[in-house]
Symmetry: C2
Subunit: 445 residues, 2 copies
């Protein structure tokens, strides 16, 4: 089967573990099958592979997530990059053009579009596999997944099926209702709209060309910024008379807040955490190396990362957004395709950063106009390139990189560097990139 | 007046702001007269000066606190260093020998001994000034301060005065009683023993020579390790028939736990802290630069430093000690006479440290047998000395210091350095010190 995972959001509601460049789907807090912690995207990717080892998975996302995706899923996963945010219809149109032209998917084959962030079991992807089979062989144009409601939620859209059968034609859609309306819909057999859309690729290509004037994938990509922001529900679903919905009553959780996220954590703590016996219903996630000690807490979530620390009553944690919007600081850590970085220290005219490189990966070959840097290799081995000269880099190697000098490190093994940046107004914008491809092969940012 | 401040303790009860080398008296959380935060020792030192600008203050303490004392009180304060911990009688005997020989205090002059950590107002030191005048002119051998009890505490010793007058002879002492006993004592007019001892210097020198076989200060210092651990109460007070006690009913608080400490904090938070309106009776102290966000908390103390983070119900916070005893990590920050250091990153075979130097101060001239270091100056100016060669050091200067090389930095202005240490089994023990005094003057560690 072909799956398009929509991976969006900047995830302020799970601060300080999510930030402007790490969305919630990349936080590693779910116990994985081999004892390690998985992120949402890693969990879902593993679940899809376990249901269908031959599934092609394409992640539709923004440029800012590409590095984290490659870091967590490896270099083989397909990523369809949106040049900018334009809501779900343009994103799905672009991903479908990508599947047709880059992945050579046939117009008759079914494609399933799913959000990347529901917390589900594998039966969810078994249901999606069934839906793709129905889409390929059935008569309807569009197949949806309807989640059996567990309470009259005001934050989901509702699908009204014609019958109570497992698969039914859709009679109507209802957008986020009030509580009493929601209760009434549920009595009428309504289902939550889980954001899953399944169709034959040709169907969506037709819709795209009907609604957007473009020649091919490259053309669509080039004019992406001009497109209207419009949701797939609004542009396609609500206008399509021929839709079927399949009921799903397996586990389906929307883990958008600390309160809901901690419900599915396998353990009460992740990381260096100590709790006394008087703690009740407390969850602690510590991404720092120093310990967190909790004593006598009740119904509390504690989360710490290089960005900061949250200590919140679990219910209150869903109101976090305005407080986080008010925090203005630079990004303190990020996962990149080549490894990761963490800001260790911020001074007026210097930044100290720890950089880890994955084996076989490298930084961009780059220079800075307004800052000098000192890099000290503290572990691992590789080659540094400084103004086109190669230098063997291993623990103890110190590189002095004055402003203007071109530099990179190509890791042979995993490497760790301490980078001290010095200058006035240090900024991530101050970076000129150069090509090293001729000599060292393709680089993925 | 002459005051000996007894400064002891390693302060695990206020973890993570106190640690093995920073005792609670050095935590800066009390609003000072000029808007800055003061530590307990800074507050008490300022209060003494305001009551008697000519007071001589001598701090009796262990070697591990000397740097922090000079950092917080300046280089002029007298410090009498105990070579090792031997309880209060040896400490007071040593300090009195120090006053006699090093400070030339006359045997007829009165000396007041006070703990460094009660939270008091200036009237406390006015009372001590009165006591020193009584000790110089009065008939009794020893004068104590008796604190009017506010509840039947089980953790203090009680003094039984003969009368209810402001100053009275002492009839008896009672060690930490049970609650009912304490209530009975208080009904009989008992006072808490505040640990203040006032006497003429000659009195204590006599007692010291009677109980310890030593020639002079240097001899006492040299044989200090051989002395028995014995308290001043046990060795002197309980054996002295001629004692007077003065009642004190001003503010006197023992700030030994987070619960009591937060009661006297001027504000509910110190540092980069955000709280929503649903927090009640919450105190947060954040010594990190990244923010702490608290939502919907009640009766909670949060404290964060480079050592770790505590989140505790206020009452539970008094049971912290065994949990902190169980945390084994290196010291992550310290205040030194020359400035301070903070550990930024710990890896198997490297440590990254931020060092700040105060203007005019310098590190020891030293070398390491088993580690290489890279120092990058990120702000300020001074002179680096590397294997006896002088190098101008300013923002951008990088020093590569292989194992065995002698090195130091002498700060002209305030300076900040990032130090990357590399080697197997990095240890603070791996340090050889050399003298630079002939050329650069005396160094204070």
């Amino acid at each position: 089967m072909h799956i398009i995972l929509l991976s969006g959001g900047s995830g302020k509601r799970l601060w300080p573990l999510s930030n402007d460049i790490r969305s919630k789907q990349f936080i590693k807090i779910f116990p994985g099958p081999e004892g390690e912690y998985e992120s949402m995207v890693q969990r879902i990717y593993r679940q899809i592979r376990s249901v269908d080892p031959d599934a092609t998975v394409t992640i539709a996302t923004s440029r800012s997530q590409v590095s984290a995706i490659h870091n967590q899923l490896g270099d083989q996963v397909s990523v369809c990059v949106e040049p900018c945010r334009r809501d779900t219809f343009p994103a799905i149109a672009l991903a479908c053009a990508y599947l047709q032209e880059i992945k050579n998917v046939d117009a008759d084959e079914a494609v399933a579009v799913c959000p990347v962030d529901p917390y589900v079991d594998t039966e969810y992807f078994e249901a999606i596999r069934d839906l793709t089979q129905q889409a390929e062989h059935g008569a309807a144009k569009l197949y949806l997944m309807g989640i059996e409601p567990t309470y009259p939620s005001e934050k989901y859209g509702y699908i009204m099926p014609e019958t109570t059968q497992a698969v039914s034609r859709v009679s109507a859609f209802r957008e986020k209702p009030g509580r009493e309306e929601a209760q009434a819909y549920i009595r009428q057999g309504a289902l939550w709209n889980g954001g899953v859309f399944v169709f034959r690729l040709g169907y969506l290509l037709e819709k795209s060309h009907a609604l957007i004037d473009y020649a091919d994938y490259a053309d669509l990509y080039a004019r992406y910024e001009e497109l209207n922001k419009i949701s797939f529900d609004y542009a396609v679903v609500e206008k399509e008379p021929d839709i079927q919905v399949m009921r799903f009553h397996g586990r389906w959780m929307d883990l958008g807040t600390w309160n809901t996220l901690t419900e599915v954590m396998g353990e009460t703590s992740v990381g260096n955490v100590r709790m006394n016996d008087n703690c009740e219903n407390v969850h602690v996630i510590n991404e720092l190396s120093v310990p967190i000690l909790c004593m006598g807490l009740k119904n509390i979530v504690v989360a710490a990362s290089p960005e900061g620390m949250l200590v919140s009553d679990k219910e209150q944690s869903s109101y976090i957004k305005p407080y986080v919007d008010d925090i203005h600081q630079q990004v303190m850590f990020a996962e990149k395709s080549w490894g990761s970085f963490t800001v260790l220290d911020v001074e007026d005219e210097s930044l100290t950063i720890k950089v880890t490189l994955l084996p076989g990966h490298r930084l961009h070959y780059h220079s800075h106009a307004h800052r000098d840097e000192t890099w000290t290799v503290v572990s691992g081995e590789g080659i540094a390139v400084v103004d086109d000269a190669e230098i063997v880099a291993r623990a103890g190697t110190v590189l002095r990189l004055p402003a203007g000098c071109r530099h990179t490190v190509i890791a042979r093994t995993g490497m760790t560097l301490i980078e001290v940046q010095m200058g006035k107004g240090i900024s991530v914008e101050d970076k000129l990139k150069y090509s090293l491809e001729a000599k060292y092969g393709k680089h993925r940012s």
